[in-house]
Structure formats: C-alpha cells, structure tokens
Symmetry: D2
Subunit: 428 residues, 4 copies
C-alpha cells in the first residue's frame, strides 16, 4: 500500500538522523561553496569530520564576484566534482520577477534580496545531490539566521530523505580567530588581500541586492558609515541632473528598458546600475527573523526599488480595483512565506497561482524620473489601461456617468448603519 511504503521510506531516513550514524553514513555531500574563507574551511571540515567526499557548487547569481576562481580552490582541496553555474537568468526570471508581481515587501521595508536567492540554491543543491548520488548537502549559514532555514526547508521539501550538515551548528569554530587557526593548521589557502573579507560586516549579494549586518550595525541607534555602502552612491553624491527611464511591462514583468528588449537578468543589471548611480535603493531596518530575534540590516536594492515603484504604477492603470486590494491583503503573507523560507511549499504555489492569474493584463509602459535617491513616476500608459478620462473627468462627461446613481449607492451602503443607529447604536 502506498501509505505503508511511504512510511517505511521516511522511517528509514529518520533512523539515520542521529549524529553517529550520519558520520559513518555520509559518503558524499554537496556544499554550497562561495570560494571564500568560511566555506573553504567547511570543505576541509567535512572531509575530516565525516570522512566523505565533498562536491562543491558555486553559482553566479549576480553577486558581482568571479565564480571561476572557486574551481582552483576546490581542486586544491581535493574536490573532484565541481559545479560552477551561471544562474543569473533563472534567478531573475523564475524567482525575482514572480516575487515582484506581488509587490512583495517584508515588514513594510525589506525587498527580500537575500531570501529570494536561497530557494534557487536549495534547488540546485538537490539537483546536484541527485546527479552525484550524494546523501547530504551542506551550507555555510549560521545557526542564528534565516538562511539555514531557507536552505534546509527547500532541501527537505524537494528531497525529503536528504541529510543536512550545518557546520556552524555543529563545530566550535565560533570566531574568526578560530577559523584562521583552523586554516593554518590544515593548510587551507586564505586570500588575505580579499577586500570583502576585510569588511567588518557580514554581507550577502546577488543580482537583487547586497546586504550588511553585524559590527556597528548591532546598535540600532548608530547610523551606518558612508563607506559601508558598495553598490550605490549616496543621494548627496548622486548627479544633479534627473535621469528619465521607461520600463515596458508584459504580464507583470519588465521586458524592455527605454524601448530596448532585454533578458530578465539584463533588466535587473541595468536597473541596478542606473539606480545605484542615482543614489537609489538604500534601506536601513530592524527586521524580525524567523528564528525569533530582531536583527539590524542595511540593504542596497537599486534595481528592485525602481522595479517595485514601476510595477505598482503599471498596475495602477491596468488592474481591477478589487484585484489590487486582494493582492495588497495577500502580499504580507506572501512576503512572510518568502522571508521564512517557504518558497518550495504548496501554500506559496497556491498564492502564486492567484497572483499570476492577475498579471495577464499588466502590460504597458512606465516613465520614471530618477534623482538623488528618488524614484518618481512621471507617466504610465497601456493598451490595457482601465483609466477612462471620459468618466473620471471633472469636465462635462457627456453623460458617461450618471451622478444620480451615487445617491442609491450611498443610501444602500449606509442602510445597515442607519438601521443600527436608529436602534440606538452609537459610534462616537
């Protein structure tokens, strides 16, 4: 019977879940490998601790660093199966754009730049585990953050029997010093000149954003230093001239900028470049992590900031009122799902079906005015526009709208409250 069969498969997995069994059972593990210090240590630590083969997976999702150097580093540590993928188009097309169709913002501020990349990484880790016959995956996310949750929920949802090794939750290398010492003892090559590593901040970057956490930011009263920011100039340093830009939408996604058709990743790269140059997209917030604590984060999301404003603008003339309102009410919970790591869940798919259903008519062009941190809508037009001058006009509408209808509309909408007031209900 199906149910029985399924049960025994799950049981099998859980039987191996104690640490002792893990260590002996794991013969191959796929690691999300950046090529940096932390994940290089993890390669060696996995080899030593689990006595297993490590498969490295390095992805270009637009973080702005070369991924190819990761190959030599992995080879130097004896890794035989090395995956290096350019996932930029898939990232924007299948993750960023669907999310922006919902005008997604977490807690009123955060554009989910880190969150939305994790399900793609999780998916590739599982695909590679399937291709290489690995029993486990591993990642370099800490035990305090959201990313461990996003990686692992995705992995479990896509391959329920996968084992997950999260070194930061297991080892005792809790500080940079102990990591460095580990490297020294094991001959792990460390690139001391690497600019990023010298940053005092914990950073994450992909085509949608770059983020900063830790160090001075741990005091929410402290203002970030100007030299922390990497992708954008400050509004003060941005050009004194306005930049105009036109975005063309099809079914809710941008397909052209200033009339030039572009692939999804090129769209976002272009928006990032122009946005960053105009001081657009910085955010500095305290957010609520899924694991329970508040956390200060600074983000640069130049392209996403432009995209959100433009998408709302094109929706404003093409979307039905009630659909707009329903999207607005559903958005916070969609954002929460993405933030908490439930991209690969049936409830996210269910919401996405509703959102995508709404976007067929979201076509047209938005004209923007970019200036020193401001994204200003300067115009919107669409063959699918529902804006009707002949009805909305303050001038004579030649009978397009019968003002007398309003009386009945108001009277019946008021009826329940009139009856209540008549019965003595007092709303003051």
């Amino acid at each position: 019977m199906n149910s029985r069969a399924g049960s025994s498969r799950i049981r099998g997995l859980f039987e191996q879940s104690s640490m002792e069994q893990d260590m002996s059972d794991v013969k191959k593990v796929v690691l999300a490998y950046s090529g940096g210090l932390d994940t290089s240590v993890i390669v060696r630590w996995l080899q030593d601790t689990y006595n297993c083969e490590v498969v490295t997976f390095t992805a270009d999702i637009g973080q702005g660093e070369e991924v190819e150097p990761a190959r030599a580093k992995a080879e130097a540590m004896g890794v035989k199966e090395i995956y290096i993928d350019d996932l930029r188009e898939e990232f924007v097309r299948d993750f960023v754009f669907p999310m922006f169709r919902a005008n997604t913002v977490y807690e009123g501020e955060y554009l989910l730049g880190t969150s939305i990349a994790r399900p793609l990484i999780a998916k590739r880790l599982i695909e590679i585990a399937n291709e290489t016959g690995a029993e486990a995956i591993s990642h370099g996310a800490t035990g305090k953050g959201n990313d461990q949750v996003r990686f692992e929920l995705g992995a479990y949802a896509l391959k329920p029997g996968i084992q997950v090794i999260a070194p930061w939750r297991e080892w005792d290398l809790g500080s940079r010093e102990s990591l460095m010492q580990y490297c020294a003892e094991r001959d792990i090559p460390v690139d001391f000149a690497n600019a990023k590593k010298k940053s005092p901040y914990s950073m994450d970057a992909n085509l949608l954003h770059i983020s900063y956490e830790g160090d001075l930011l741990e005091d929410p009263w402290a203002e970030p230093e100007e030299d922390m920011w990497r992708w954008s100039v400050s509004p003060e340093d941005a050009p004194d001239e306005v930049t105009y830009m036109e975005l063309t939408f099809e079914k809710g996604d941008v397909v052209a900028i200033d009339g030039e058709a572009m692939s999804p990743a090129t769209v976002l790269e272009t928006l990032n470049k122009v946005g960053g140059a105009n001081g657009i997209g910085r955010d500095d917030i305290v957010e609520n992590r899924y694991v329970g604590m508040k956390s200060r984060g600074c983000y640069e999301t130049p392209g996403g900031t432009i995209l959100l404003k433009a998408h709302r603008a094109i929706e404003s003339i093409t979307l039905d009122r009630e659909v707009t309102h329903m999207k607005d009410e559903l958005m916070p919970r969609y954002a929460k799902l993405v933030y908490n790591g439930y991209w690969w869940s049936p409830e996210r798919k269910m919401l996405q079906a509703a959102i995508d259903e709404s976007q067929d008519v979201v076509n047209g062009t938005v004209k923007l005015r970019l200036y020193k941190g401001n994204v200003i809508v300067a115009g919107r037009k669409s063959a699918d526009s529902l804006f009707d001058e002949s009805i909305a006009t303050f001038e004579d509408d030649a009978g397009a709208y019968d003002q007398k209808d309003a009386e009945g509309f108001i009277k019946l909408n008021a009826l329940r409250m009139r009856i209540a007031a008549n019965k003595g209900r007092d709303l003051l």
Copy 2:
C-alpha cells in the same frame, strides 16, 4: 416594543425621501461652507430651491486659508447661524494619529489625506444639525467622487434620519461658466482675485495634505508641471544640506520633535514645514475610487510621509513580530475602510481596537535624515526595545542562543513537506 418603535422611526424618514417632500419639508440645512465660489453658490441655491434657512459651518483643519472671511460672506447672503471652528487639534489627535498607528497606505501609495478629514466634517455637521434643529445637511462634493460618500455615510451613521442635499447631484450647473452666470444673476459676491480659484486643478487641503486632480492630470502619461505643487519645493530645489530630526513617540503617536513636546497639530505643522522645505512627500498616482472609476491624483503629504517612515521605525524595535505581521495584513482593509468613508462604522472601530491594543509599547525616539525628497532612518532607540544585541550578535553570544535549537525548529517546520514529498508530491 423597541423593534417596532425603531422601525416606525426609519419608515418616517424614508417616507420623506422623494424630492417633492424634501423641498417642502426641509426648513433648515447645515452646509459645509468653505467660503469659496462653489459653496457660496450652494448657499443661494439651497435658499432658492428649498426655500429653507441655511446654517454655514466652516472649519479650520489646517487647509492654510483664513476661515474668518467666510463669516462676512455668509452674512452677506443672509445666513443667521454661522459656525466657524478651529478643529486642527481634534483632526490630528482623533483622526490622523489613530490612522497612522496602523501605518495606513491605500493601494501602496496614498496616505489618505482627503479621506481622513471627511469623517470629522461629517461629525460636526451632525452635531450642528442637532444643535440648530436642522433636518438636513449639504456639501459641495460632486457626484463622481469619494467625498460625497464619506460625508454621507458618516452623516447617516451618526444620525440615521438626517436628510442629505448634494447639489452637484441635483442641479444643472455642471460647468464653471454656468456657476459664474448663476452668481451674476443672483448677486453672489465672487472673489475673482482668489489665487486658489485660478488654479486649473481641483484641490483639497488640510493639515495632512494638499491634493490636485483634473486638467492636465487627466492624462496619466502627462507629468505634472512644477508650478502645480504648493506645499513643497522639488527635490531639485531643496537644500543641499541634510536636515536631522528626532521624533519621540508615546503609544504610537509623536509627542515631541527634537526633544520639544508639542501638541498633535503642532507636530504635524512642524513636520509639514520641514518636510516641504526638503522636497519630501510628493506623490503622483492613479487610484481606484469607491464609486468605480480610476482617478489620477497628485498629493503633497510632507509631514505624513515623515510620520509613516518614523512610525514604522519605532515599531521595528518595539513591536512583536507576529503583531507586526498581523498589523501589516489588516492594514489594507483598514485603509480601504478609511478611503471608502467607513470611519464611523463598527468594523473600523473593531479594527481600531486591535491596532490601539498593539501601540502601548510603541514608545521611543527615531532619528531621521531628511534630504532632497528622502526620509532616511538614521537611528531608533526605546526603553521598550525588543532588540537584543546579545542574541542578534554575529560575535560570540556567551550562550544566549543555542544554535542547536535551530535544527529541531527546521526539522519540525519541514515535517509536513517531507511527508508530502515522500508520498510523491512534487513542488517544482
């Protein structure tokens, strides 16, 4: 019996609702009177058409024009009962601030500046009707807009037997020319020098905002002309220097600016002044009216724009995560209630009870950086802060958080999806 008695009272009201009866029955009507052309015409039109006494009510809600001149104009037309009220403090304290506790934004953009003033006007109209024994109220809102709905829903909810006379839905003075001719024929004094009247735009102003509709704005592709805006300089013309400002919150409301305690109206006036000087708070949108059409509107809400950003920031360190999310999910429907005119409704009161319950802990100070249209949070602190550096830190936390807990947290959150995947459910 209560029910019967109530019924007969309602019946009585409806019996008088046909026009013929109205005209003979209405002996006194309270008019929301601005002193401008339109409502001056309405005074005379009501006197002529209904052969009734007109009571004028003119309120200072911060629209930035003198209200006292309305007295002489009303007297000149024979009005005997003239109400002129300064409602600025009540407006901000009892309407604007409660709304901002919910971080209220309609359709992702509009801060509801016009909407939130209407229930206050409706309430005063009814109070004055009760004091003067008037059977009816009247207003100068058109039959195409939201304001008629907001005035009348409020009036009906507070006094179910009130009659409402909406001249714009009744008369045939559909253009400015016919209004002018009406004035000329009836010796209604028209102030041709009045600056506001020369504007090609339909405008509305109060302490929260000034709005523009009509004329060139009826083409959503057209960018507004710079000289339309009245309350703010453009970001380009704003000072080249940053302005810092600190807002102190108590129970979700601002009580002091830069350490100086202020009344609600003074808070908003101050924010408007500083915000406007820094090019903050312009918005240009296409919104969905309750009466069914899309409408282009431009708004200046300098103080409100600052207030919203600051309120979210102080909530970010003081509010529980799930309360934050629940507020975010409820906000769009709260906004819809305010926009549609249901301030005086039991459902708005019900939502307000939940929102206000959440604000006891929203205390503290937010430091802002204002610069050429940007409102940037530069710091937040609170004795009620839930931000805990010792847990959030990337450094060693001395055991404040057990990273091992995360494994169980993830495993159980993933369980339902693992079981499903194990049974063959595919999420890709």
Copy 3:
C-alpha cells in the same frame, strides 16, 4: 486610440439610461421567465410599457418543475423567440462544484444555494441577447433582495452596454392583489391551482437547494411550521436505520457514489434524494443581505450539506496544513463574493485560481453515515493521503520522528516572547 474608442462606447450606453430614452430605444428584451405568475405579468408589462419584443428564457437548473409548459404560456402572450434550456449539468459542474472546492459557507451557515445559480442565468441571458440582438435583459427579482444585484452585476460584467429592466423597481404592482388585477385586465392566464403559488413563502429552488422567505418567517423568534419544508423529511420522521454512503473525489469534485461513476448533476440529485430522506440539510438563519438589511431565510440543502462534510473530510487527509489554513482564511471572502453577486469578477477568478491549484491532490473516498439529520464521517482513504500512521502513532515509531526536535522547535518559537517577557512585557 483604444482608450478614446472605449470611452465613446460607454458614453453611448449611459446616454440612453434615462427612462424616456429606454422606453423608445429598447426594441427587444430577454426575460428570465419561469412561467409563473410574476414573470408572466412581466412579459405583458414589458410589451405594454416598452412596446418591445420579449424573448423568454426558461432554464431547468433542477428546480423540480417542468420547464416545457413555459413554452405554451409564452406563445400565448405572443412571444416569438423562446429559449428553454437544460442547464443542470453546467450548473453543477461549472458553478456548484467549483464553489464547494472552497468549502464555501456564508456567515457560518448558508450554503449559497440561490446565489450560485444567478451567474449562470446572467450568462445565458447575455448569450441570448447576443444571439437575438436584444438591447436589454429583464428579470423578476425585487428591489430589496440580493438577486437583482447578482443578475445585473453579472450582466454588466459580461456585456457592459446591456440595458437592464427590473420591473419590480419600476412599476407600482407592489402586492399580489394588484398583480392579479393586472392579469385579469390583460387576459394573462393564471394557473390558480398551482401549488407553489399558494405557498405563503417566497421560494427559490435549484439543484442545490430550495429556500423560503417571508410570511411567518419575518419574525425571527418564530419557528417554521413543519409543512413549509418540501425537500426533506424532518429528523424525527427520518428512518430509524443508518444509511451508509461512499463518495469518491477527483480533484475536489465527487465523481462517484458507492462506486458508481456519475455526472455532476446526477451526483447532486442523488445526494439530495438520500439526504432529504434522512432529514439532512435544513437550515434556518438570519443573514445579512448585500443591500443592507438582515433577512430571515430557511433552506433545504440536503446534497450540499453532505458534500461539504465529505469534501472537508477528504481534504483532511490529502491537503497540506498551510494550504488548508489559507483556504479557511480565504473562504469567507470567496463566500462574500458569491453571495454579493461577484461571480463574474476578476477577483473571484483570482481566488478560484488559488483554490483550484490546491485541489489536484484532493482525491479519494469518504464513507458517510447518514442518520436523522446527521452527516457523520465514518472513514476516509486516499492514494494521496498525507496521513502517516508511522509518525502519528502513540506506539513506538521506530525512530520515524525524533522527539528531541520538538525542544528546539518550541524554544525558537518561544524566543520572541521570552525576550519580550525578559524586557518586562506582561501578557496576563
């Protein structure tokens, strides 16, 4: 330009909307014609008042009365174009079943039997108007009820230029006596022997339910008389023996009863018969109408009551938890859309997309125990079941679930509240 062209089309329609123009402009009108007294009067009244040709449309949607007799009656009044359709399968397949996928209940009680039939009628009225070149549709719903709204919203949404003639809102035939007199004066044949017409109740029936309103029911303290009910025996009169029944679901819809495959309409007919015989499906409620007043209604929905219980039961073993909860949260607004007449709206379609997305896995069989008004779930099974005995068991699960995971799960879920309590927040 598209926008202009569209505008002028709308303007045209509204120009004709005053009564005088209607009367001269309408050359042909499609009437939803039951063959009963009221709509027979309407045929003649339309012919007389509008001097237009009437097309009658009579549908079998399972109301339990012959529709063919309507032909002779229409012919007798000179109607030349007569439509008589059997819409039972379409009704259940495309309206009832999609609605039950959402477990739809209005205000906790009402299964929307009347509401769900209206959009189908509206659609056919418009289709027939298109086929016959009619400018208008007409119906026999009163001006106080929901049905006028449902008919007309549907008609306007599907054909924006359609004119709607609602005689009950226009004429002065407000009582049965005046209708009878009208018939007598115009030689309209009245079937005085018709049992239904003698009922003191306003009734509506289709394959999903029969409803009763008015007369004694207008006192919400009065219990309905036993002889009012037509489709079901009372629980007291139902058999003393239990009836077992098995329903088989595919993608959320019932496709077989007791192993026998059936069409949608046959499924519902069968459930009605068995349910009614067992005293199942009576409801007696006070509901809130869209037009603003409360209304007492009694309903018999035998098949629907069984269907709802069974659908929830099959979902209970096949649906993901979070999908279940999201459906539960969305359901009330889906119900409200159907009740208020927004079936033919983009927001209903958007919600339906989400609901239907969830139903692919809702397959399997539910065993029911029917007894004197009770629908008791006696078993559920499915090849898509997510129920896993090996994990849920109270017995030894051989390691299928690691109870230690629960500690981390609880600790992290509690973290935000522990931090808050530690800061002095008091929840008591």
Copy 4:
C-alpha cells in the same frame, strides 16, 4: 542601560540550558500532576533523575474525575508541596467563553477542547513556581503532540527564565510496559482498577470536551467503536422526543439557561449534560498538528457544540454585517493561535481586543431544539436586534426602503467591471 540589563538576564537563563547544568541546578520543579500512572512515574523519575524536590499541581478543570485522591498519592511519594485547585469557573470564564466569542473552530471541525485548557495550566504552573521558588516546571505531554508546545510556549511567555523538563522527550520509557516495570521497581502505587487507564485510547478531558486518540483510530478509514464514547449517547440511542432550551447571552457569553442565571462553569456543565443526553457533539476528524503530522482524533463536545450554534444565532440578529464578516475572516487565524499554543501571545491579545470590542451588543435569547445529534435554532430575539421587519418584509413596507436606490447601488458597483468589459476584458 536597559537593553544591556535585559540581555544579561536572558543570557543567564540560557547558560543553564544544557542538560548537565539542568540536572544539578534544578532544586525544585512544579509538575502538572493528574494522579494517574504516567505523571506518578514522572514524580519519581524527576526525584531520581534531577535529585530535586517535586511540587505537584492538580487541577479540576471539569475532567470528571476526583482530584483530591491525587493528594494521597503525591504524599506517598514524598511530595511536600501539593496544590489542588478547582479552576472550573476560571477555565470557562476566562478561556472558553472568550474563545467562543470568536466562533472558533479549527480546520472547520475542531472546537479546541484540549487546546484551550493548556494556557490555564501553564499559567498556574508558573504562578506556583513563583510561589514555591521552583526553577522548573514539568508535564506529561509527549514529544509528538501539540500539548508540549502549548504548555511550554505559555510557560516561556509568562516566565522567560523558567526551565522546562519534558520527561517524554528525555527518558526511554517509550511503552506502557516499560512504565509498568518502572513502577514495579520503584514501588509506585498503580491503580489497576482505574477504568480510564484500561482504555486503549489516549484521552483528555475537561469541561469543554473529552478526546480520544490512538489505537484503532490510527486508521482513518476505521469507524470508532460505539463503546469508545463516554460523554454522549449515540444519536440512535438519544430520546425520541425533542428537548427545547433557551440560552440568554450578555456580551457574547451565556448567562442563563431557560431563564435561570448560572455561573460560566454551571452553564457549560448543564449544556454538556443536556447535549450528551441528546447525542450531540461527537466529532471524528483528521487534524493537522503544529509539530507537522496529521493526526486522527475523536471528540465529544456536547456543550460547546450547542454554544457555538447558539452564539452564531444571537450574533445573526445583533451584529453588524461587516463586523460579522471581519470576525469570520479573522477566526481561522485566532483558531490557529489557540491550537498552536499562542494564547499567551501579544497577537492573540490583539485579536481578542477586536473580538471583544464587537461583543457589547451580543445580547439576547436563543431558543434551541435538540434532537438526536441535531442542534436546531428555533428562534432568536434581542433588545439589540438589528433585524427590522419593516424593511425586510416582502409585503408593502410603507416606504421604509426605496427600491429605486438599488439601481444606483448596482450601477456603481458594476462600473469598474463595465469599464473593463468595455475595454475588452473577458471574464468567461
């Protein structure tokens, strides 16, 4: 600084959270003690394992068993501080009734009988820990169920530094046999004659319900045996005569039955008695546990089933439509909070504020007809009724409602869809 101080308090707690420290640090633990086998074993196990003093807490929450015998048992095991409380009134007044104000049902079926008792137990455990100076609490819930979550979330929320000992997650006494052997070895008195203990089901009871899980119920296709049920007769065995009953509500709570004023607990006891005698309140469901698996449960909730139906009925005539709908939309998430153990959370309090705000007007009397499992509303009346016969009537309403208003109401509600259809949008 406040923030630092708070942090150090939390840190202190977490420092003690490893098992080694627990065992030495815990000097006193408060145990939720039923007097039954499992918790008797836990008393001894805590004494042995932690070498600590055990305080027992036994509550009468209406489970239908004597609580006083627990005293002698506890004394026999050397317990010095013994708390035995009658919490029935507090349970119904402060937990059951507030929950029923929301018409709370989990997943369409479950009345949350077990869930709602846990926060009260958690609260008393913490109060007793404070009184006795205990560092820890303990309970007998397993690591697979929801109750551990409910106990512990409550405890952590009310006293963030409390330690929790959950023996079922720690020990290896996974079967009844090993428990019995443990008793035999340690001279723990076992009452072999205790009827409840002989049941093959895992049961839980309080004034709101009794539940059954496990054994035969682990197959969702299996129907429960008749002799499992303890509180109700089957519908078949219930009296052949109808029982009428009148419930009087004040602010949403029942205060009298058949005109006799009663305390909250007496109300529920009475409803349970009458309901159980009439075969009312059995439910048999598969529910989704918070810890991730589906679980079969059977419940008897006779009084709650009656209460829910009656509360909806009194709301149907006293509550505003939009308030009703908002409550319906919020209910599923309120139910989820209670089910998942978040009673003592700020988000539950926020929702409760909204719900309670709505209940001031929920006054009046509901007449019920109870018969063989059926709860039938036979009448509702209230001085706060909003039902208005004069408007709802199908008879001539003497002008109480102007049917012409409906046209404008429909036209404006349809406007957005007409414009869209006119622009070519197709909803079919």
